[in-house]
Symmetry: C2
Subunit: 875 residues, 2 copies
Amino acid sequence: MSIKYVYMFKEGNATMRNLLGGKGANLAEMTNMGIPVPNGFIVTTEACTLYNSLGKKLTDDIKKQIDACIVQLEASSGKKFGDPNNPLLVSVRSGARASMPGMMNTVLNLGMSDAAVSGLAKLAGDRFAYDSYRRFIMMYSDVVIGVDKHSFERAIDKYKEGKDYNSDEDMTADDWKAISEQFKKIYRDDQGKDFTTDAREQLYGAITAVFDSWNTERAFAYRRMHDIPYEWGTAVNIQEMVYGNMGATSGTGVVFTRDPASGANRIYGEYLMDAQGEDVVAGVRTPKDFLELEKDSPACYKEFVEISTKLEKHYKYVQDMEFTIENGKLHILQTRNGKCTAQAALQFAIDFVKEGILTEAEAIQTVDARALDQLLHPMFDPAALKAGKVLGEALAASPGAAAGKVYFEAKDAIAAKERGERVILVRMETSPDDILGMEVSQGILTAKGGNTSHAAVVARAMGTCCVSGCEAIKFGNGTFTLGGETIKEGDYISLDGSTGKVYMGDIPTVPAEIAGNFGTFMGWVEKVKGAMAVRANADSPKDALKALEFGATGIGLTRTEHMFFDADRIPKMRKMILSDTEAERRAALDELLPFQKKDFIGIYEVMKDLPVTIRLLDPPLHEFMPTDEATFVALAKDMGKTVEQVKDTANSLHELNPMMGHRGCRLAVSYPEIAQMQTRAIIEAAIEVKKSKGYDIKPEIMIPLVGDVKETRFVKEIIEKVAKELVAAAGVELSYQIGTMIEIPRACLIADDIAGVSEFFSFGTNDLTQMTYGLSRDDAGRILKDYMDNVIYEGDPTARLDQTGVGQLMKIAIEKGRKTNPKLKIGICGEHGGEPSSIGFCHKVGLDYVSCSPFRVPIARLAAAQSALTGDKFD
Amino acid sequence: MSIKYVYMFKEGNATMRNLLGGKGANLAEMTNMGIPVPNGFIVTTEACTLYNSLGKKLTDDIKKQIDACIVQLEASSGKKFGDPNNPLLVSVRSGARASMPGMMNTVLNLGMSDAAVSGLAKLAGDRFAYDSYRRFIMMYSDVVIGVDKHSFERAIDKYKEGKDYNSDEDMTADDWKAISEQFKKIYRDDQGKDFTTDAREQLYGAITAVFDSWNTERAFAYRRMHDIPYEWGTAVNIQEMVYGNMGATSGTGVVFTRDPASGANRIYGEYLMDAQGEDVVAGVRTPKDFLELEKDSPACYKEFVEISTKLEKHYKYVQDMEFTIENGKLHILQTRNGKCTAQAALQFAIDFVKEGILTEAEAIQTVDARALDQLLHPMFDPAALKAGKVLGEALAASPGAAAGKVYFEAKDAIAAKERGERVILVRMETSPDDILGMEVSQGILTAKGGNTSHAAVVARAMGTCCVSGCEAIKFGNGTFTLGGETIKEGDYISLDGSTGKVYMGDIPTVPAEIAGNFGTFMGWVEKVKGAMAVRANADSPKDALKALEFGATGIGLTRTEHMFFDADRIPKMRKMILSDTEAERRAALDELLPFQKKDFIGIYEVMKDLPVTIRLLDPPLHEFMPTDEATFVALAKDMGKTVEQVKDTANSLHELNPMMGHRGCRLAVSYPEIAQMQTRAIIEAAIEVKKSKGYDIKPEIMIPLVGDVKETRFVKEIIEKVAKELVAAAGVELSYQIGTMIEIPRACLIADDIAGVSEFFSFGTNDLTQMTYGLSRDDAGRILKDYMDNVIYEGDPTARLDQTGVGQLMKIAIEKGRKTNPKLKIGICGEHGGEPSSIGFCHKVGLDYVSCSPFRVPIARLAAAQSALTGDKFD
C-alpha cells in the first residue's frame, strides 16, 4: 500500500502536527470541531522530505493523491478548477511543524485562467475578477517562478502614466484586463513560454515552490536560530478562497484572543471591511480595533467571540487567529498558539488557572523557560530603541541591555567606573585577566569567541549583558570600526545581549521587574514534586546571594581560580606559580590561604545549611601570568630573581593545546601543596562558620578533570588527610564530601571505578563536549558557521547538549557510577545546566541536580519542573 | 578460612608465577620435578600487596603461616633456627612475577646468632663460621636495616691496619670473631639497640625489607621502563643455605644453557670452586668456563648437563641457572628463562624447532616482538660505545644508533648533507616545517615532546633514530649545553634511539644485518592463519618500497600533507591557503594537482594490486605558514597583495587549541575544493597506472576527524561526485573505497550511523587517546613524569594503547559499526598499530588490519601472529 501523503482537513486533527504542519493540523482540528473553516487539504511534511531526498522531484503518486483531493474539494464546494461559471480558486500556504516566517509567501487565487476569470466575473463583477487575475499572475510569477516583480510594477506605473491616472482606484475592469494581458506577455518574454492556465500545473508548481522555500538561505538561517531540524520539512495547505473584499458586508482581520504584550484579557487585533488580508498589514488603510467589529458586523462579532473562547478552552492557550467575512459569513482561516512576551505568558498562565482553564501543573507547561530570561535583565526602552542605529549583529551571548562608554582595557574600564562612568568593555577576546574589568562593566563586546567563550560564560555568570564573536569589528589605535562607523574610546555604544545587536550611542534602558505574577508562578514551580534540584554556579558571596534570591538550593560550582585575580592576590598567586622549590611555593601559598578562607567564609555565611560545591584550582597556570614588562620587573624584584629567570619560568608554562594540558587535578598531582592549601581554606572556613554561626555547613570538595581512578584516589587522599586532621583538631562534626568533575570522556568510560572513590559526580559538559567532539570552543567560530551553513550541525553543541554523543557518555557514566556507588549524587555544572532542552535531558537520565549561573536559576527551575511533569525518564 | 599467604616449595608449581613470583614458581616446579633444590618456602605476592595496602604492616596471620613453614623446614632439614649444634640458616631473596633487577639484594646466612655460629663452627670450622657471622651482620644491617655499610668496612680496614695484615686472607677465626663483636657494637651505636639474634625476628625483618624494596625509586623506575604494574607486588623466597665455599669439593656457578649473545648451542657460563656465588660475579678471582667443570667435578658436571637439558625441554626455552656444589653434592638454586639478544632469540627459535623441542607455532611465541627492532636498525659498535661519554638521557623515541654533526635548523641540516656531512638535527621541538631537514638527518634530538610528539612519530615513520624530550638541554646562541658540556653547531654527537642516551663525539655504528634466520622465522610467522593483516604507513614511494620489503600487504595511511612541504610545492600550498576567494584558491589548487598526482602514481606503482589508504588533508592550515619575514614578502609579491594583508590572513589562522580546531574533514567542509583536488589526484593517478601498467589499483580514500554522520556524508558526497565523474569519463573499472578515520570520541559513540556511509574505519588512536584523556601529547611531558613518579600511570598511554578507556570506545565503535555495516573493514593507523601489546588488543577486538611505520612491520606481523596463535578473542 502506498503511503498517504495528502489529507483532507476532515481527515486530520491537532495531534498530527508533525505530519500536517502546525497550520494544517489546526485547520483540520477546527474543521472537526465544527468551526467554519473554508475546506481544503494538506500535502504532508513527509512528502516534502521525500521531495528533497529525491533531488526535488514530486512523485506521480503524490500528484495522484493531490488530484483525488481536488476532486473532493470540487464536490464539497460545487465549484470546478477552470470552470467558466463557478471556478474553484484556492490559496496555497506553507505550514511547517513550527512557525517559520522565513518560508514562502502565500499564493492566492490559484486556479485563475482566462476561463476562470470569466466565471469569477459572473460572481463578483468584472473589475474584481480582472484585478484578482492580474494580482495572481504577478504573485505566481514572483513567488513560484521567480520572475522579478518590478517588471510587473513598472508596467502598471507606465499604464497609469499613459492614462494619466493618479492611483489604482482609477483603474477600470478593462484596464485590469489589459494589464493582465501585459503581465502574461512579460511572463512569456522572461520565461520563453506561456503563463500556464492549467490549474493543476499551477498547483503542482506552487506546492514544489513551498517545498523549495524550505531550502532557501533565509529558511536555513531561521532554523539555525530556532534549532529546527532540516528533516522536519514543511507541509502545504491548499484551501478554498474566500474574499473579504466583496463589498461592505465583507472584511478580514488578524487578532490575538488576549493582549500578547501586556497579557490583558481582551481580544486584541485589527480588521478592515471590504479588504483582503494583506491590506490589514500593508498599512495603506488604517485598520480598526477588533472591538469595533461589534458595530460593523454584530453577528460575525458575536460568532467570533464565541469561537475564540471555544478555541482558547480547546487549545488551553491564547490564540493567534485570522478571519475573513465574505458577504456576511464568517470564515476562520487560521488559529495557532499566540507568540507573546514573557510578561504576557506569565499573565496568561495566572489568568488561565484563575479561569479554571488550566491546572497549575498545566500552566507551568505553557511558559517557555527560555523566555523567563527577559524578565530578569534590563531591557532597552522600546521607544528609544527604534531611533538607534544598528552597527552590527553577532552572538547574543548573555542577555540584557546595556549602554556605556567604550573602553578597550580592563584597567581603563576600572578607572572609568571609578570616575562614575557606565562602561562597555570591548575586547578581541577576554581572558581571566579581564575579570575585574568585566565586573565593573555594564556590557561586554568581543570580536572573537562563541557562545561558550570565556567572555560569554563569565558574563552569563555575572548576569552582565554580552555580545560575542562580532567578527566584523576592526580594531584601530584606541578605536574600532563596525558598520561603517569608527567608535573611539569614551564614545557611547549600546548592546542588546538578547538579540546580539550593537547600537551606536546611549540608548536608555528600563530595569527588570519581577512582578507579583513571577512570584506566584515560581511558587507553583516550587510545588512540583520530583523535580531535580537547581543549584547555582557562584564564585562570591554576591553571586551566592543572587542565587538564593532566584531560588537555588545550593552552590553547584565555586571556581576557586576567579578568587586569585584581585589586585592584592594576583602577585602572590604569580609568586606561587613561579616558585622554583616546594618551600618557596608553600610560603606563597601560606600568604594566599587567608584570602581564600575569607572567600569561603563569605559564601558559607550566605548559603548557611545548603551545600556548597567548591572546585579545586582548574586552569592552566600560564593564565595567571602577566603580559607586560613592568609587572615582570616588579615580580622579579619581589622574588629576588632576574627578570630573565622569571620570564623563563613563565614561558615554560606555555602549552600548544592548553585545554588538554597541565590543568585540573593534574595541578594537584604536580603540586599537592596547592590542593592542601585549598582544602585547608575550605575546611577551616567551614569549621569557623559552623562554630560562630551554628549553621550546618556542607562543603563538597570537587576534583576537576579526573580521567583515572588512581589519579582520583591520589588527589582525594591529599584532601582527606588535611580535612581529617583539621576536623579532628577542631573537635566538630563536619559533613563534607569529596567528589569529582566528570568532564573528560575517559572519566565517563571508567565511571564505575571513579565512583568507588567519589561521593558525587558533577558533569562538566563544557569540556566534555569539547573533547567528545574534538572541538575547541575558542576556535569553533569559523567551523560552526561553515557547519551550520551546510546544514551539518543544526545548532551549537556547546550551547545545547548533544544528547546523541555527549549524552551517551553521560548515560554510560551514570549507569556505571551508580552501579558501584548507588548513593552517588550526580549533577551537572557546565553551561548546559541552564539550557532548557539540556535540563530536560538531565532529568530524563536521572540527575540529582543541575547547576547554572544565578540568573538562569529560575529558567532551570521551570525547565526542571516541566520535565518532572512530563515524567519521562530513561529506564 | 584465612587466605594462604605462604607456600612450601613442594606446594607450588611453574603456573603459579603470579602468586609465587618467577623465582619461587620455578623453585617449586624444580622441587616437584625431582631436581636437587635446597628446600624452602615462599611468601606470596598477595602478602606483599596486603602489606602495602595496610600501610606496611605484616599481619599476625602471615607471621603465623611463616612460622608453620619454618617448622616444616626444620623437620625436613633436621636443623633448627638458633640451634648451637645444627643451626638452620636460610637465604632470603625477592622474586617478583617479572625479573626486577631494581629489587632488594639477597640476605644470606639468616638465622645467625651467637648460638648458631657455634653450631656452624662445629660443622664447618671456626673461621668459616665467624667469617659468615660478620658477613651476615653487615649484610643484614645494610640491606634490611639501612645502616651505612662503610662503617663496617672502615672497622675491618682499621682492624687489619692494627694487625698489619695485607688482606682478608690473613684474618683468623679469632679475628673474625672480634670483628663480629665490633660489628654488633657499630649496629648498637647506630640503631640504639642490640642486633637481634632472634632468627624469627630477623626473618620478619628481611621479608618486610623485600616488600619495602618494591617501593624504592629504583623499583619504580624499572617498572615504568618495563610496564610492570605496581599491583603485581613481589614474593619472598626463603631457602635453606648451601655453601660452595666449604673446600675443594665445593663450588658455585652461573650459566646459560646456550649462548645468550650469539645463540650458539653450548652451555655458557662460569664457576669457581670453593667460592660463594658473589665471588663469581665480583671479579676478585677469575672464574672458569663452565666446560672445565667436567675435569673439576665430573659427576656434578654430568648431572648438571642432564638437568639443564631436562629443564630446557621442560620450559622449552634457554635457561639461566645458578648452582652450588656443597661437599660434592650439586644443588640447583635457580632456573629461569634466559634473557638474550634478538639475534640469539631467533637462533634459539630456529634450533629448538630443529631439535623437535618446539613446533614452529611455539617458536613464534618465544621471540619478544619488541626485540625485533634491534635487528632492523644500525647499532653502535659495542667496543667503541664503552668509551663514549654520556651527555644525557631522555625518551628512546625511535630506535637505532646515529652519529653526526649538530645542526639546529632544517635548512642548515640540508646544506650540511649536501656537503656530504652526517647530520644530527637538534631542535626545541619539530614541526612539519622541519620535515626535509629531518629526512636528511642521521638522527634527531629534541628538548621537548613525548613518545608521540611530531619528532618521534615522523622519525619512527622514517626509520630514523630519535631521542626526544631531553628537557635538560639548554639552548645558547648556536650551541646547546647538556651534561655539563657545551656543544657547538658542527660538533659531533651520537644518539642511541633504543636507549634514549645522548653521547659526546662520533661513535662508529654497525649496520643492521637481516640474517637468514630472520627470513626463516618470518616465513613461519607468515604461515599463521587468521592473523590480522599488517599494513604500513607510507607517504612516499620510498616508504612504500620499505614497507613491501618488510612484508606489509598494503598501505594503511598515506598522509597527503607531508607532500606539500617540498621547496617547489610549499609556496603554492601557501598561496592556496592565503587565498581570499574560492577562485584564487582553485587556481592555486590547480597548480598543486600535478604534484599530488605524481606522488600517488609513484606509490601505486610500488604497491600494485595492494590497497593504498590515502587520507585527505588533515593538519590545521597554519602549520603550512612561514615564520620568517622574507618568505612573507616573497609570498605577498607573488600574490599581488601587501605583506600586511598576507600576514593578517596568516594570523587569522592562529588557534588556541589547534589540535581541536579547524583541521581534518572540517577543512573539506570549509574548502570543498581542496578535497575535490585531492580526490582528482587520487583517482586520476589510479586510472593512469591501471591503464599504463595494468595493476588493479585499490585506492581507499579516508576522511579524517569525522564526528558526525552528516559531516561524513557531506564530505563523502564531494569525493564521490568527483570520483564517479572521472571513472565514468575514463571508461575503466576502478574499485575505490571511501571510509573514515575514527579518532574522536564522538565518532565511536555514533559509529552505527557513520558506518552507514563508510566502507572502512581506521582508528586514529593517537588523537583518540589524546581526546579520550583530554591530554595533549605535545604538552604531556611534565604531566606524564609526575604521574609516573606518583605511580598514577604505569606507562605512557600514547605509546601503549589504553585498553580500559580508549579500548572501550574502540569496542563500542566496532560493535556499532559492524551492526550497521557487517562488511565494514576496520583497521588502526595510529602509533599503537606497531606496539605489540596494542596489536594483541586489536586482534582480540577483531580488527582486520593494523598499520604502522615500515620499520615496525615485522614487529607487527610477529605480534599479530602471536595473538592469532593464543586465539583469544572477545565474545
